[in-house]
Amino acid sequence: MTSAPTGEISVRRDGAPRAGFFTDTSVCIGCKACEVACKQWNDLPADGSEFKKGRSYDHTGELSASTWRHVRFLDVLEPTEERRVQAAEALAAGSGGHAPSLPAAGDGAGGGVDVARAVADMDRWIFMSDVCKHCTNAGCMDACPTGALIRTEFQTVFLQPDVCNGCGYCIPACPFGVVDRDRIDGRAGKCTLCYDRLQDGLEPACAKACPTDSIQFGPYEDLVEVASERVATLHRRGMQDAYLYGAGDEPDAALAGGLGAFFLLTEPPERFGLPAQADSPIQEHVVPATLSAVGAGLLAAAGVAAAFLHAARRR
């Protein structure tokens, strides 16, 4: 066990340069190279892949103690009930699955893929490389009773694996569902923003691997500037729904005080499994919860004493 360095449990390091991620879903192609790069660099075990895990073509599930980057698939192209019925009827009719309204069936006699139509629909298949948000008000770090979770000199949130004892309190304390406890290892695990690479002057593995620069890494202020210009560019091109999730907000609307890893999204956050509003649950609730709890404790002690005094007086 290491001894705690001075200021280790500090939750802020004001003045330190902040490193972060900007993840732009508008250019993500869902290749999952970031997931692979993350697993390789951080020596993380595979946790089983399964085709169409859950309800999408995404086969790697979700963020977990051993998956620190995860590409969520938003399959808006999932066939509607009507199309399913059509396809079932076409198959039953013995026409080899030809149904006029299915893009794959096409109009030609050969039943080839209608490429033009498929391409036109492609923008509706959205990918988002999810990751620890490295919040300004980090719920996990507020919760951690051992001081395993710390704010680093890059203003990122780092879980010291040699300190964590797997108490599990950070897991429900994360409003984004990032941290998890590994069943075999027993400790919690999450993205480190490649703390070891940053210390050596390298960018994180996922950002390095991203072929379309959907994941961009850099000094926080630079990233916010680029991201804001990107949103403005998309707006001018008619994509009015583009917005930044976690950066550029007014202070009263900020997510957990501002996210070190923020996203450009084009759909409501819930479609990506993200909360519309979030803050560190401890900073949000601890004062009223403690006041009412301790008040009730004092009241209970007084009540018990009163019951005894009452019973003694009646004697």
Partner: protein, 410 residues
Amino acid sequence: MTRPRHTWPRVRGWLRSDAGPPSLAPREEPPATAAEREAAWVEERAGRGIEPAVGTLGGPASYRPGAADADVALAQPAWEDARWSYLYGGDTAYASEAPAPGEIAQAARRMRGGAPTSDVYGPMMKAPVWTWEVPLYFWFGGMASGSAFVGLACDVVGDERSAAIARKVALGALVPCPVLLISDLGRPKRFVAMLRIVKPRSPMSMGTWCLTAFGNVMGAAVAADVAGRRRAARALGAASAVVGGYLGSYTGVLLATTAVPVWARSRVFLGPIFVATATATGAAATRLTLAATGLPSRATASIALGNVEAGAMLAELALSSVNERRLGRLAAALHEGSPGRLFGAAKLAAAAGLALKALHPVTGRHGQNAASILYLTAALAFRFAWVGAGRASAADDEAVALTARRRQPS
């Protein structure tokens, strides 16, 4: 443009020097064949992943430089490599427009505010991983804290014998607590890490210290009782009741300060509900122990404890039903599935206990003891129900999304 991301990479470090790159010869010869490498790999990682994934104990990273003080190959201070990788320089149309003032904040406000959407793709959050040890600890810890209250009250009316027994009950209820908590850890051998810092903002850290303090003070009080030091026992007993006030209530705070909808939205009620359960169990356990040690059921302490346990159970039921009404849609986690069944059983047991209490003239001494046992059972079911409901609530993606949406920015 002041942004460095548009600049061409500057060649730095050893690439520019005449000395050439530092030697990167490995300190030890790597295995010669793939088979040997695999054998070494498997041997090193027997049981997989038990060693720190990032770095060795206390170290920052697992990287070992080939030569002393050598940089990582290609290392660039200030992350120059990040800037090379930007595809989208100033000469592309990637981010070519300047945002209007307030445009970015406005866009986010529009998409993140407004009416809740039913189109939720989960999972929204991770459910707590705590197993049966934690609700059982809540039960025992609550019992210890409630018995400490009883000990203080007995001293207030000068009933030293009952006070000493109440303190022994408290200590007895406390003994399983650390065992349960440690066995719930992912790494039980590292439980000591809990005691390496004091962190006022973490209810779990405060709870750990509270449990430690309570154990020591209560142990000393019982020791004083045994040694016949009555004044010391009284003082220590009073101190333990003060610490017990937090021990019995912090567990509610612990659950309330999470992102789990049903816990977080009950934040003002969870502490009082848990205190009520704690008081009822403490009183019931002490009453049963006093009865077993031959205290007549008409004695002051016995009558007072009967009133305390019934009053606390009534308070618990009242607080619970008010809270459920407040929760609305989120209360589903408390009504459905196995937590719902437990909750129902707990309420039934509590009501049966209260009925036995009301029928005191008919049921007599044994009826009162049965009521105490029913309260203890009800409290245990309440503890399991609350923890189970949290798990169900966190897994309810729509509830999580809805809870987050309702908190509109002002």
